[in-house]
């Protein structure tokens, strides 16, 4: 048999053995398929940064036509779920008990204060514990108040002239829907799970069980073991990406502005990086317990917290921003958010892909150096 044919035979055998192992182990399938599905459903339906139906307490001390008009505006808005109170103490107790998230206080001199310049006619309190939601609620209340006040002024003959008026236009995500950027980022998380976590535990398991030793005494070469191991997980990872894409488009109506080809190519690249990480971790940690923990801390959690997936990198402190440069998921999330929401913007795609390519070579290189066909 020629050397090339022998290689092909060993590779085929290795790939077949690995694939069978995956298919026969329900937990591998679960990590590769069930967990991504769970994540997709959670993020598609569970996670939202967009507040709707914010419960607020409306305290109306002296009801008249104007207060009725304002409370009506709150009731008709889909952003608010107002609850009316007679006095401020009751409303404050409600805020303390977490029954409402904010208070809008219409004092008894409301109507006479409406167009005064020195003090606003309404008092507003929000629960500041969740700072982000507090800011959003604050923005909604201010927006509604401004709109109502402008139309009130117009009805009474004053034209409210603001010196400077803003015209905001939000690009790529005009509905300002947080799901549109969370769901694409999930592809990075899912691939990290399959590529890094699952792979590292699988290889570590072979070391722990001693079956790696058995492989070592066969004629199979080290690189053939590696390739044979990685191929099924590569396929699983890409499958995960396609599943996410399908659900994103069909179930969550998240648009894909860029091309499918670009998405697939960059996903394949990231998958290689994730596999490289998994391989590296497993070569360092010879037990599943340690491999799992290290994979969790070194790949999954950074992909979640430091990649720009949910928290904006630009707002983090400088030292942390520097650390994000060594998190591969950061580059992939940037690509994903752009390809899904903006389209094929080549400068972004190429620079991030180059970084990913570099990391792939780095990880695979180190893993190659660490791996020796020896038993220690």
């Amino acid at each position: 048999m020629t050397p090339a044919a022998a290689t092909r035979m060993r590779l085929r055998a290795m790939i077949r053995k690995e694939s069978l192992q995956v298919l026969r182990d329900p937990s591998s399938i679960a990590i590769a398929i069930v967990l991504p599905l769970v994540l997709l459903l959670l993020f598609g339906y569970g996670v939202s940064l967009d507040a709707k139906h914010v419960r607020i307490a409306l305290v109306v001390e002296h009801a008249d036509a104007n207060t009725a008009s304002l409370t009506g505006a709150f009731q008709h808005s889909e952003y608010f779920l107002p609850v009316e109170f007679q006095n401020i103490q009751q409303a404050e107790r409600s805020l303390e008990a977490h029954e409402v998230d904010g208070i809008v206080w219409l004092r008894n001199d409301f109507s006479s204060r409406l167009l005064l310049a020195d003090d606003a006619a309404i008092g507003v309190f929000v629960n500041g514990v969740d700072a982000n939601q507090a800011r959003i609620t604050q923005g909604y209340i201010e927006g509604l108040w401004q709109t109502w006040l402008t139309s009130y002024a117009r009805d009474h003959g004053h034209e409210l002239k603001m010196p400077v008026v803003l015209q905001p236009r939000i690009w790529f995500n005009p509905a300002v829907n947080s799901r549109n950027f969370l769901v694409p980022g999930l592809i990075a998380i899912i691939m990290t799970l399959t590529g890094a976590m699952l792979t590292s535990m699988v290889v570590a398991r072979e070391w722990e069980r001693g079956t790696m030793e058995v492989l070592m005494v066969t004629p199979i070469r080290l690189w053939e073991i590696t390739v044979g191991k990685l191929v099924p997980y590569f396929v699983l990872g890409m499958g995960g990406m396609l599943l996410t894409l399908a659900m994103a488009q069909l179930l969550f109506k998240v648009p894909l502005q860029g091309s499918f080809l670009v998405l697939t190519a960059t996903s394949a690249l990231y998958m290689m990086v994730a596999l490289g990480m998994g391989l590296l971790i497993s070569s360092v940690a010879r037990s599943q317990f340690v491999a799992g923990q290290v994979a969790l801390v070194a790949t999954f959690l950074p992909a979640f917290m430091l990649s720009g997936f949910i928290f904006h990198i630009g707002s983090m402190p400088e030292p942390v921003q520097i650390i994000t440069h060594i998190v591969p998921a950061r580059y992939f999330v940037a690509i994903l958010q752009t390809v899904f929401m903006a389209g094929d913007i080549w400068p972004v795609l190429l620079s991030n892909s180059a970084a990913l390519l570099l990391m792939m070579l780095l990880f695979l290189g180190i893993a190659r150096r660490n791996a020796r066909k020896r038993l220690d």
Partner: protein, 372 residues
């Protein structure tokens, strides 16, 4: 009774040794949590800082420059540069060099001085919708202040007063005050669940679990013995992160520490219960890890740690009632920021105790079942 206690103590000691003896296992228990706390304590933020913006100023008047100065001087924004043609806008935003481009038209000052409204166009990158909304809001605040100031200086009728919103508990709306107390719960749950979930599975894979069968230990004693390392490590971990939150991150602790600790104990107990339940179902370590994961990821996401439960659809909100972290987070934030004491915290103890009771009972039943 005395013999029972002796057996339990022996098992608990052995369990603790098993976790602590392995050098790598020790490192994994200490190093990562510190690292995670530091990095995520600083990284997890929804606040907006130093956002790069570009300015396209077609009106070179003093008024427009004054307005621009107001925006740039804010700590939320950093000036990336000025542009002088419309063509430059698209690449800057597309390539994420800036988050926002502010476009001031040529008649800005003319409109202002003649009493008409001068409009300023904001073009914002919406790829991160949360950041986009915040950026828009921040510029809105700056505009309001500018309007009042301008009207005063040019003897114009002042616009109606803007609403001053007073946030309770967190006057400066610092995101970190919300996230870091939450990390006490998240990180201690991760450690507790993983350590406990892997304990039985590891023994099963090594074959030493069967050896327990020939000892006089009864299933319930095994359960108590195996819970011990998880509870100890969980509470120690939680205390460490708590100390870091108070002394390193300077999060104010306004409520009762005792109430928090009691809550932490019940929380860790429920985490151990879930871990043992997973452990008794899993046949291999990989399955145990997977089970722990399948529990932890939804538990963290649905707990209200980063995104509010109120924003979730009603059906999903119902699911969160089974999540012990949900209750512990309320206790944590309540004690830290809202000054809670036992009377307000105690209503959240019961759900965690119930979850602990249910999971531990189920685990005991599984032990008994599997051992026969």
């Amino acid at each position: 009774m005395k013999h029972s206690l002796q057996r339990i103590i022996a098992l608990a000691a052995k369990e603790l040794l098993a976790v602590l003896k392995d050098k790598r296992s020790r490192i994994v228990l200490i190093g990562p949590p510190i690292l995670q706390l530091l990095i995520f304590g600083y990284a997890a933020t929804f606040d907006l800082n130093n956002v790069p913006i570009a300015v396209y100023n077609e009106d070179r008047s003093a008024a427009s420059r004054e307005f621009i100065a107001h925006v740039i001087n804010s700590p939320s924004f950093t000036l990336h540069g000025y542009i002088d043609s419309e063509h430059q806008i698209t690449p800057l935003i597309d390539n994420r060099d800036v988050l926002m481009v502010m476009h001031i038209g040529p008649r800005f000052a003319a409109n202002l001085l003649s009493g008409r409204s001068a409009s300023v166009q904001l073009l914002i990158d919406g790829r991160n919708s949360n950041t986009a909304l915040l950026a828009q809001g921040y510029v809105g605040n700056i505009v309001r202040d500018f309007n009042i100031d301008w009207a005063k200086r040019h003897n114009r009728p002042a616009p109606p007063a803007t609403v001053t919103v007073r946030p309770w508990f967190n006057a400066n709306l610092v995101s970190r005050w919300f996230i870091v107390p939450g990390l006490v719960g998240v990180l201690s749950m991760v450690i507790t669940t993983i350590v406990t979930a892997l304990s039985v599975a590891r023994e099963r894979e090594a074959g030493t679990f069967d050896q327990l069968l020939v000892t006089p230990l009864r299933p319930i004693e095994i359960l108590i013995g195996k819970s011990f390392p998880g509870i100890l490590i969980g509470v120690l971990e939680g205390s460490f992160i708590l100390a870091m939150a108070i002394y390193w991150f300077d999060i104010p602790l306004r409520g009762s520490l005792g109430a928090l600790y009691l809550g932490m104990f019940f929380f860790v107990l429920s985490g151990v219960g879930v871990g043992l339940m997973i452990s008794s179902l899993a046949l291999t370590q990989q399955q145990a890890m997977l089970g722990a994961f399948l529990f932890m990821v939804p538990a963290v996401i649905l707990s209200g740690f980063a995104t509010p439960i109120e924003n979730m659809p009603y059906a999903v909100q119902l699911l969160t009632y089974a999540d012990p972290l949900r209750y512990f987070l309320i206790i944590l934030r309540g004690v830290f920021l809202e000054g809670y004491s036992y009377d307000l915290v105690s209503r959240y103890y019961w759900p965690m105790l119930i979850i602990a009771f249910v999971t531990l009972s189920f685990a005991t039943w599984l032990f008994r079942h599997r051992m026969n």
